[in-house]
Subunit: 208 residues, 2 copies
């Protein structure tokens, strides 16, 4: 049912809808409307209906959406009805916080290994993980089912580690390093840079 | 020179251009082209020229952009030629990592205070910061020049803290809690949710 022709801007909104629906479900709701969902996520009801219509019929005029059904379908569309193995590279303070974060597994992702280049860190335990040597990245990952990585290394080595991840067969990189990465076609990067978000808001602030 | 009519999608790309230009400057470059900048950030040269043209003339046909000049102008447009005071609410592991992150100040932001609701944490020191009581948030911030906040509290209390931040006069919230916040007109929220990025990439992954 996935269409290769769905614009990426629409794909980018689906996880936001899914998050809101899962939150509503956790709070005991079973039905919603595009109006209500729109208010939760700050997107117009018309846009939500249009986005979802790319993937088939989800609701009935007048009765709205059945939340568990819509969650199931969005999980299928986003391919998170399964759990993806993810590696984490860069075990500074942010890497530690991410490794201990409990919010990945119930949304489709599981960290399976963590890497660093610092000899003082390699071999030490964080939660149940032994930090592995980044030099073994390609050997360890190539040919496995690891297709995603989170990158929390310093900007100065981020491209170099990215090249290794790509060589390992990783096709999706969540990059926390504050720079744009160069990757070949077929590999995707999503950026997590708090300053980008802050700067984008500063544009709209007045001094008053 | 800021136009209120510039679409937000264009505003959202300016910090990405700025980051790439600052990275190029730090590596010793003084001039660039929309072509080269485009390759760094994964956006077409035509789009970059179109985006920048909203704010005036920045480059010359054939000679490209003078990087320090373009950085200065983008900083002015984004209002980060100054430093904005930011408060951090939620001193879990992520809050600690953010507080110690060194990458804010040189890009326009300075954390000036941090808050938590846990009596065991309030009053303790993290770096040079004493963790303050979230119940004092409104009293402490209202009437000051703090207009931005980073929110790293659990999802269950994020909306409640957001309401306090808005009451305090905060107009921009960088939200790390995995849910959509409701704010009044004139207040902006940017979201940092790693799972949204991972899910967006999972859509494009094949099992092979």
């Amino acid at each position: 049912m996935n269409s290769v022709n769905v614009p990426d801007i629409i794909v980018s909104r689906l996880p936001v809808y899914l998050r809101a629906l899962q939150y509503m479900a956790a709070n005991g709701s079973t039905t919603t409307s595009s109006q209500e969902l729109g208010e939760k996520v700050g997107i117009s009801a018309a846009q939500i209906r249009k986005d979802l219509s790319q993937f088939g019929e989800f609701g009935k005029q007048g009765t709205g959406y059945h939340i568990p059904f819509l969650i199931d379908r969005l999980c299928q569309i986003l391919k998170v009805e399964r759990v993806w193995d993810v590696v984490l590279v860069g075990m500074g303070e942010l890497g530690h916080a991410i490794l201990r974060y409990q919010g990945f597994l119930n949304r489709g992702f599981r960290i399976v290994a963590c890497y660093d280049s610092d000899p003082a860190k390699i071999g030490t335990l964080v939660s149940q993980f032994k930090i592995e040597d980044v030099n073994n990245l390609v050997t360890n990952i190539k040919g496995t089912n690891v297709k995603m990585a989170m990158l929390t290394v310093p900007a100065s080595v981020a491209q170099q580690v990215t090249d290794k991840l790509v060589e390992s067969g990783v096709r999706g990189i969540l990059n926390y390093a504050p720079l744009s990465l160069t990757v070949p076609p077929g590999v995707r990067v999503q950026y997590i840079d708090p300053v980008i978000g802050l700067q984008r808001m500063a544009y709209y602030l007045s001094e008053k």
